[in-house]
Each structure stands twice: as structure tokens, then as C-alpha cells.
Symmetry: C2
Subunit: 470 residues, 2 copies
């Protein structure tokens, strides 16, 4: 089969034998060139075919990462950080070959500074693992991209998810990072203050840099007290417009909803099949409210009134923790539920995000574009942020379908960009959105980004070919 | 008088005659070399003596800024953006000579996108001007550094102030920037979405870059609906510790206070004299609560209970808008009130910020250091963020006093840094904190910052000698 994605056809040279020997000597059984291991590290949740690295190193410490970087730097060999493998944009694919640096074994919770509402973890710790460790502290970490991603990966892609409408994204919630630079130096966060004006914001520069400027090894994040009251609700609407306008008005009124998620009827049907739920197959919003008993109730009442104005049918409440968990697990599994709805398919997910005033136009515009689609699709997303996903379910062996899905994706992105929106609210650029970024940012901004890349990684060994072509 | 601050003794060459002619031809009466104009643009609110530029250009448009940058770049001549002149760290001082680019005439509100809760303004628009323009919209811009600073300057120093504890700093509230680069290109924000994962976070890199990476010409900021209910209160405590611990517990409980400001008895006395208030001269907290009627009341009740536990005496409420305005005006004028308390003095303000668990240690430690001070001082600040200021009131003609104040400043900063704190929560580095930043960030981080500077401004014409020495 021809590779349908020409971006994958990049120059790669084999792993230098001396480097292989040196890595083997240093990492012993934590160095692998086994085909299955390489294959596993050469794919993610994107629609791209696997593009394996030449070798995999399993890191367990900052020193492991430093040594791997120094050895790869000596041989000008690409190095790709690998966390949970949940990227949707091809971030992990070794299009130039080289070494996948698996940090999933760096999974220690280093410190929970409960009094400061912060925690410091190794990059391979996942969001669920962190929240599990926080259980007795009365605190939680809200950022939640659906998948049980690693904190390092979430920082690297500037991830967000369902709670971002209230708690912000990784941009706002990473307080500090330890990063190994392309020449093997370990940068540590230089303070743990809630705010600082001390020089250039290196932390924010590494957040969202997709492994191209440094390897994130430790992450310090903000935590929040578990709210006194949390309630979730499901509400159905007669139309997409009605659902979306309810959310727009909620945001414009400043109601601090914790979550406000749209799911289309096809997505709901897929969830029902996958998660054995019995949700009504309609245009649906999932809400969550956090606060004191009184303020959570007040928020819910305001949103109920807005929903009613738009024909929303009565809220179905999930008040008990186990009911809320079931609801949000169903939401988090929505992408996998959609994939299951067409066995053997791969998903291509759009990720546009627009100013909230353009959300209705953007999402109904996307819906109209997809009316011409020959493949099934679901629409769902974090509409309170203006961010939604169209998940196109494509047959990976069907080049015509792939081309069609890319055309549709392109149209949806261009529509969002024409509305002062972005091609990616939370998934990142990776391989898939390079052209979109060029169009969106323009040549001058791209040139500055490339200048930063050259300054940080002059030999282009860190995840080369991602964000922009090498 | 000898310049007591050796950092001011930098290499400067006179303005090239050809550049002067070209600027004069381009800007006519908006180009000035008059002594008074230069003097005005060579000082700020820092304790440093005036260090005037060789000329001043008054910009009114992006094109003005581009043309000034291009002309200065041709002659490798320094260019310093000037907004409201309210810097506290010597950002505006022309230690290498060159041109001050006054953007205060760029004071147009370009757009209020009320439905998106955003506004786009020219860099010279001040925070008060923006809030005035928002009056009929039901929205407000919360970031408030005390002084009526320009939005461009606030972005450039990553400013914050009293409301940051709830609404965040300029880091969180700048959505996009237009920036003229060192080679005269105009970068525009490439989207106006609430969140984006599209490439490197150039916006966050320019925020806090203090005019050294580009000239900010336009700022898009987040706005917030004016809360249904706002109330403020003053409460007195038997000790510094009691006041600070009340705030620490408030934050740890997650109470979303809008403001929580500490003021020492000396500061209160100075305010009483300056603003004709009759506040009790005690360790004092000013609080503000935002929310619905019910939630603002609930917050106030929680905080009252915490305050009572620490011996806080009954809240004195400011419920009417005019009373709240009077209270916060008094707070905003506190720095000037302190200056007035010692006629002819200049202020040296510390700006440390520590993790909230270390706040009591940090502030009582600072207090102990200042017990040895020979000059008067006030302590005040945004304690909910772990950020406070010691304002040392020094005789600018007395070299011994200046040296003493720098020693005390140094001790206070080192104490904060030993507690994972930062030398600057919100004022920036400027000239004054270069050594502190070096100590705090360490050589590797400084080297990366310098690499960014070189990549963005290879000829070092943008505010040279700030953040790090040229």
C-alpha cells in the first residue's frame, strides 16, 4: 500500500552502529531494537500508519534522559520523547528515524505540596495516577484530555479537555518544568511561586513545544481543593444550534461551569453501544457544576433556565459520585466508542477552536461540510471553550477515503481560521497540522518559531519534522 | 553626585546624525531632542537617577513603530518602548542611549468584542481608560497593578496586582499581541481563540520580555462580566502573622476571593495622611468578594470566620460602589502615600513572591531584616499570591542609605529565593534585578534566554541592558 500521507516520506538514515552500541552499553535491557517494541513506539492515536523508530530507550531518571540525549547529540540522531502514546497528530512517529525515548517508567509522584496546592511529578505520571495519589489530600488535578495521558505529554502538547472552561489548560496549570535540553543540560524550574516576572517565560515556551525544544522530565502543576459540591447533568436539545447557543450564553454570563460538553446524536449512539449507557440519541450537553452547595445549585439553576429557553429538555442529574464517574467515563471513552462504531477504522479528529461568538457558525458550518462526507463521523467537544472535534471514521486502507477526510478536515479548519479561530485547540500540530499552522501563523511568526528551534536545538535532533518540516 | 548605581554606567555613543535627520524627516514635530522631553523619558518610578535617551519619537500607529524600528536598526541604535512611565525597576532608562519610542499616543480602543469577553487596544491604552470604555458593556478588565499603567507596559512586564489572586496575571489574561520585531516586521496574533495548541507560545514569550524582544503595539485581553455582587471589607489583626495566616488559610480552602491585600501599620498611617482616610493603624487586610449575591456573601462569611480565629476584629464593610472605590483608591495610592511620608525620598520596592506555605516565614523574615533599617519603610502586598512589597523610603542623595537599602533588598530577595520564591512577582527584572535573576534562574536558563534574545534581536537594539547585561 502506498503511504497516503506524503509527510511521512522523510529522509532517514539508519541508526549509527556506534550509537547503538553506546546506548546498549548504557541502558542494557532498557535499550531495544525489537520490531514489536519499535512498532509500538512508532504509532499513536492519529490516522497515520506506524512509522517506527530505529530503537527505543526506556528512561527512569533525569540522568537516563541526559545520557540518552548526549549520546544521540553526538551522533546527530533524532530523539522522540514517548509518554502514553495518546497523541492524535502523529507527534510520536519517527519520520526521520532515530530513538524513541520512552519516559513512561518515569512515573514517580515526587512531591505533593498540599499547602501550596501544587504537585511535582515525573513526566510519565498520568493524570489518573496523579489524581489517585491525591485522594487523601482533598485536592485534585482538573486537566483532563480524555485519554489517560502522561503529564509530560500533556505539557508538551498544551493539552486541556473537559475542565478547561473553568480551570484553564496546561498553559495555565503548569507551574514549572524540568527539561533536558538538546545538549544534555538539565533545566530546573527556578521558583515555585504562583506568579513571577523573572525573565522570559521559558516554562510557557516548553509547554506546547511538542518535544522539539527539550525533553520534559518533571512537571509541577497547580492543584485545586475538591469542591464541596459537584453535580453533573445531561440535557437534550432539539437541534445543534439550540445546544450550542445555551453554552454560548452560559459563558457570556460568566457562569463558572466546570464542564460543558456537546455530543452529537451519532456520538451518543456510539457511547450507548460502547459504554452500555441508555442516553437519548439527541443533541446533548453534559454539564458539571463545582462549588459550595449553594453556588453549585445556583449555577445549575441559571444554566437550566438558559437551556429551557432553547428548548432543552429537563436535566437528568448525576449527583452521586459513582453516577458522575459513569457519565464522565462514557464521555472520555467517546472517541473509542466512535472508533468501535466502524470496526477497523481509524479516526481523523479535527480540533478547531474559535472565539465563543463564532462557535455556532463554526460548528454548524462544520456540520454542513460533513453533510457531504461518505464516511461516518461524530461531533463532540469542549464547546464552552469554542473547541470541538469532528471525528471522521475512515478506512485506513482506502486512499480515496483518506483523501476525502483530509479535504473535509481542511475545509473545517479553513472555516475556523476565517473566524479568528485556530486549527488546534488542544491536540497540537504534530505532523498533521503543519500546513494549517503555516497558514494560520503566517511566515513571520513561523520564522520566529524556527529561530527559537535553531537556538535551542541547532542540530535538529529533538522530534524533527514536527510543528514545521525539517 | 556620583551615580550610586554602577549598572547605569554603560557604554553609550551619541545618536548618529543621519538617524536624527531621518527620524526628524519622518516624524517632524513628533520627534524631539528637547532636554525636558528626554529627561521625562529617562526616568520611571524606580530609585535610579534619570538616564535620558538621546531622542524621543511619539508613535501613533503600527506604521510609526515599524518606521522607527527600521531606522534605528539601520543605525544599530537602541530603542526603548515607553508607555505610562510607571516601571519600578529602571526598564525605561536609556543606559546605552538611543531613542525612546513613546507609544502613549497609541491610545485607541480598537475593538470591544463583548460577546467573546475580549478587547483589543493599542499599547498606550491604560487600564483605567479601558475600564472606562467598558462601562456600558457590563464587562471589566480586572488586572490592576495600582498605577494607571499602559496595557503594553503591563504585558511587557507580566504585571498583575490586587485582583490576580482570582483573575490571574497578564500571563493568563493576554490573549494576543501585535508586536513589531527588531527588523521591523509586524507580527499579529494569529487567532483569538480562548485556547490554542498552535505552535510555540510566542504571545507568552513576549509577555514579560520587557521590550527586549519586540515592541508591543496592540494587546488583546480577556474581559469578565461585572459580578452581580461585589463587596469589600477592612479587617485589623493583632499581628502580622495573624493577618497573613488568615490569607493563607483562605487560599488553601479555595475561597475565590477577588482581592486580599495586606498593609502594615506604617502604610496605613501614610494612607490616612495622604488619602484623608481614618483607617486604624494596625496590621490590616483589605478583602474584596465577587460573585452572585449568595456566593459573595458565602465567601465573606468563610473569610470572616477564618479572620476571627486569628483575632481579626470585626469587618468594616464597604458595600456601596463609592465606598469600595474610595477604599481601593487609597490602596492604589499607598505607594505614593509612602513616598509622601518622607518628603523628597525615592522608593526602593522589593517584589518577592513565594509559595503560599512559605508566606508567613517570608514576610516575617523580611520584617526581621528590616528591623535593622535606618530608613522608614512600609510592607504591603498581594498576599493571596504570596507576593508582597517592602517599600524602603530612601534619600536619593545619600549614598550610604542607598547602599543600605540595596543590602536589605538583597537579603529579602535571597530569603525568598531560599524558599522556592522569586525575586519578582510582578515588577520585572529591568536594571534592578539582573543579578537576582542570574542567581535564581542559573546559568543554563540565562543562556537559553540570551539565545532567544540573539535570535530575535541579533544587533541588540531593543531595550539593551535590561533583564541581562549587554
Amino acid at each position: 500500500m502506498n503511504a497516503p500521507y506524503p509527510v511521512l516520506e522523510a529522509i532517514r538514515r539508519p541508526l549509527p552502529a556506534m550509537l547503538g552500541d553506546a546506548l546498549k552499553a548504557r541502558f542494557a535491557e532498557r535499550f531495544s531494537t525489537a520490531a514489536a517494541v519499535r512498532e509500538h513506539h512508532g504509532k499513536d492515536e492519529s490516522p497515520f500508519p506506524a512509522t517506527p523508530p530505529d530503537a527505543v530507550v526506556f528512561a527512569q531518571s533525569n540522568q537516563d534522559v541526559i545520557d540518552a540525549v548526549v549520546l544521540c547529540a553526538e551522533h546527530c540522531t533524532p530523539l522522540i520523547a514517548y509518554g502514553a502514546g495518546s497523541s492524535l497528530e502523529g507527534h510520536l512517529l519517527a519520520i526521520h528515524g532515530g530513538v524513541s525515548l520512552d519516559v513512561s517508567g518515569m512515573n514517580q509522584i515526587l512531591a505533593i505540596q498540599a499547602e501550596d496546592l501544587t504537585a511535582t511529578v515525573q513526566a510519565g505520571v498520568t493524570r489518573k495516577q496523579l489524581n489517585e495519589a491525591l485522594k487523601s489530600s482533598g485536592l485534585f488535578f482538573p486537566i483532563d484530555p480524555g485519554a489517560d495521558a502522561s503529564l509530560g505529554g500533556m505539557a508538551a502538547t498544551r493539552a486541556s479537555g473537559t475542565n478547561a472552561v473553568r480551570y484553564g489548560t496546561m498553559r495555565e496549570n503548569v507551574l514549572g518544568l524540568s527539561v533536558v535540553t538538546a545538549d544534555g543540560r538539565l533545566l530546573r524550574p527556578f521558583n515555585r511561586a504562583r506568579k513571577s516576572s523573572a525573565g522570559y517565560d521559558l516554562t510557557r515556551l516548553f509547554v506546547g513545544s511538542e518535544g522539539t525544544l527539550g525533553i520534559i522530565t518533571e512537571v509541577t502543576v497547580r492543584l485545586y481543593p475538591i469542591p464541596e459540591a459537584m453535580s453533573a447533568a445531561v440535557v437534550n436539545f432539539p437541534s445543534l444550534d439550540a445546544a450550542v447557543n445555551t453554552v454560548i450564553e452560559t459563558i457570556q454570563l460568566g457562569v463558572p461551569v466546570a464542564r460543558s460538553e456537546y455530543l452529537c446524536p451519532y456520538t451518543i449512539a456510539s457511547i450507548n453501544a460502547y459504554s452500555r449507557t441508555r442516553l437519548r440519541e439527541a443533541h446533548t450537553l453534559f454539564f458539571e457544576f463545582h462549588g459550595t452547595e449553594a453556588s453549585a445549585r445556583e449555577q445549575a439553576e441559571t444554566v437550566q433556565a438558559l437551556a429551557r429557553d432553547h428548548g432543552g429538555e429537563d436535566f437528568e442529574w448525576a449527583l452521586r459520585p459513582e453516577d458522575r464517574t459513569r457519565l464522565w467515563n462514557a464521555r472520555h471513552n467517546a472517541y473509542f466508542a466512535l472508533l468501535q462504531s466502524r470496526p477497523g477504522c481509524k479516526g481523523l479528529s479535527t480540533d478547531t477552536c474559535v472565539p465563543i461568538s463564532r462557535l455556532a457558525d463554526s460548528i454548524t458550518g462544520a456540520r454542513a461540510i460533513l453533510d457531504r462526507a461518505s464516511m461516518p463521523f461524530g461531533i463532540l467537544g469542549h464547546v464552552g471553550d469554542g473547541n470541538f472535534h469532528c471525528a471522521l471514521l475512515i478506512d485506513p486502507a482506502n486512499a480515496a477515503e483518506i483523501a476525502e477526510s483530509e479535504r473535509l478536515n481542511n475545509e473545517i479548519v479553513r472555516l475556523a481560521q476565517s473566524m479568528e479561530g485556530t486549527c488546534t485547540g488542544e491536540h497540537g500540530i504534530g505532523l498533521h497540522k503543519i500546513d494549517f499552522l503555516e497558514h494560520e501563523a503566517g511566515p513571520d511568526a513561523i520564522q520566529l518559531m524556527r529561530a527559537i528551534k535553531r537556538a535551542f536545538d541547532p542540530h535538529n535532533i529533538l522530534n524533527p519534522g514536527k510543528i514545521f518540516r525539517s
